[in-house]
Symmetry: C2
Subunit: 359 residues, 2 copies
């Protein structure tokens, strides 16, 4: 693989993507030849396809965290660790889609749907669906195992490994606990705005923003002050990122987001948006929301009614305001951060993109 210098170039998103993709491709090719098992190329091919659709947010942040505190001579290991984070994310999404019973991801059928469609020899539709779910759980398990192997094969020095490993372990447990919080909250709509934000902290702010920055920075030997500065940037930005995601889940253009904008509503997902709406709703609006949000057969018409209430009670507006506030906080945290000027520029761009994106 190409071994770029720790120059400003290293922050070029396209370059990061390319280097991470090379690391992933190299790993999967080696994997195919390591175990002789007839289904392995098919399964690794599914992982490969799945990975090809990603935005590489975590790798981008990991490399940026590394460069922000001075990087180092050899960028190879940080790209391979970034690839490990992307493989871990593939695991998390594959299992999330099973748990959310989602049909599409990144504009394509979800893995459990694709696996079900491929399995035509089964008896009935229930069995086909069951096969898809089971095989997707298994494919996620493989991706989790492989993310671990990518970390071990990253070429970190023992000293680097010793600081990176506890961060990665913590990240894994945190996101799983966040997912549990989320699961646990599904099923009954809540007006507890703070509880929804708590899920975002675990599932998104820490997992998507803070830990990737920390992991990259740890490879470059960051001190406690730098780590704290990353946290001050990451936590508000992560919440803003997730708040944007919630809006996209309800208002986004499916052709751009690649996701149905009915899934979240049908699943009765507790978001800050729904919590704010419930809190501000009058009795009739509340009854309508409780009837429609979580109805698995909700159609576009019903969804329009829900969107109308979100706007009438200004829940949508409040979420936009919360995103703005958090974006400002995140940018403010960069003012005195002990980071390279190039990284500060990149982190500002990332913050703006993450909060104003349409996909």
């Amino acid at each position: 693989m190409t071994t770029p210098l720790a120059s400003p170039d290293v922050l070029e998103p396209e370059m990061i993507r390319r280097s991470v993709d090379e690391a992933l491709a190299e790993f999967l090719t080696e994997k195919d030849s390591s175990v002789s098992q007839p289904h392995l190329p098919y399964l690794s091919g599914l992982v490969r396809d799945f990975l090809s659709g990603g935005k590489r947010v975590r790798p981008l942040l990991c490399v940026t965290g590394w460069q922000a505190v001075g990087g180092g001579e050899n960028a190879g290991p940080v790209f391979r660790v970034a690839a490990c984070l992307e493989m871990f994310h593939a695991f998390a999404l594959i299992h999330d889609d099973v748990m959310d019973l989602s049909d599409t991801r990144r504009g394509r059928p979800t893995v459990h749907r694709a696996l079900a469609a491929q399995h035509a020899s089964c008896r009935g539709p229930d069995e086909v669906e069951w096969f898809g779910m089971s095989a997707a759980v298994l494919l996620g398990d493989l991706a989790l195992t492989w993310s671990d192997e990518l970390l071990h094969g990253a070429g970190l020095t023992p000293a680097q490994f010793e600081v990176v490993l506890p961060l990665v372990s913590r990240m894994r447990t945190e996101v799983m606990l966040g997912q549990y919080l989320d699961l646990h909250a599904t099923g009954e709509l809540t007006d507890d705005v703070e509880a929804t934000l708590n899920v975002y902290r675990y599932k998104t702010a820490k997992y998507t923003i803070e830990r990737p920055l920390h992991v990259g920075a740890a490879i470059a030997g960051a001190d406690a002050g730098a780590m704290a500065a990353f946290t001050s940037y990451a936590l508000p930005l992560g919440e803003a990122f997730q708040l944007r995601d919630d809006l996209l889940g309800v208002y986004g253009d499916p052709r751009v987001t690649g996701k149905s904008r009915l899934d979240d509503l049908r699943a009765g997902k507790n978001t800050t948006l729904t919590a704010l709406a419930l809190r501000a709703a009058d009795a009739r609006q509340e009854a309508t929301l409780r009837r429609l949000v979580g109805d698995p057969s909700l159609d576009e018409e019903g969804a329009s009614v829900v969107r109308g209430i979100f706007e009438a009670v200004r829940a949508r507006e409040t979420v936009e305001q919360m995103i703005d506030d958090r974006l400002r906080q995140a940018l403010g945290a960069l003012d005195d951060a002990p980071f390279t000027a190039d990284a500060v520029g990149a982190l500002k761009r990332i913050a703006r993109t993450a909060t104003t994106r349409d996909s």
Copy 2:
């Protein structure tokens, strides 16, 4: 934890169990205090309960493999690696039970059933079941992550870690691929005896017997000859172990096995037993088998009919014969193996127990 010497005592199964259980308990207690998240003690408690029912087959083999090639001064690391294998196995079983839609395990409700029962706030029975499945997938994910942390915290030297890690990685990929083979084969009954034995090689022989021995032996610095001897013992024994399991799944006493003896038949599981029966069946018997095996509503009466055919076509007898042959091969492999006399004795006992057990 107690640090036993590499004496014959180290092969005492009760002692191995106690030391492994201590390592697991220590890890989970530390885990509870490491991340402040309200649901963590509940989730780690579920893992703890699940672990408490295990037979510790893999830890036993891991420690035996280590002692067989001379062990070492300090047995602490090998017990902690053995604990990692047990935690990995908890992950594998929790996910297997989700995929098999099993209701009981070790005489108690499976994890997804227990989680569903605990989640009373959901709306309908479908949602409760969905929550149980999803949370069980997540709990399995946590156990997989934690097994990794146990390995890293085992206190291996860098040289030991370097030989153990690739074995553990391989073991993980192998068992997942074996599970995929198994899933893929479910749904249509096969008379391909060799195909069923191939699944056993991946899912059981390598995973349950060979790799635990290899991992333990690698910690003690085993050479290639010793590794090959373990393989010659492990592969036939693993097949025999699984063949016994199949018989127990259909003929076992649920009060002793802790498993329903209808689950495998209802799921239409392809076993060597069913493949042999199909191959030997006449047209009428075959039609009956294809109608009953895989029928989710099969009752004891239907199961008796199936068992009757298994016996009439001598499939049960053939499986018993295959177990005997393989047991003989496994014991024969110990004759010239470069192992300590105590370990040879222990491996012989393990082989007999694994193939003649009633649970």
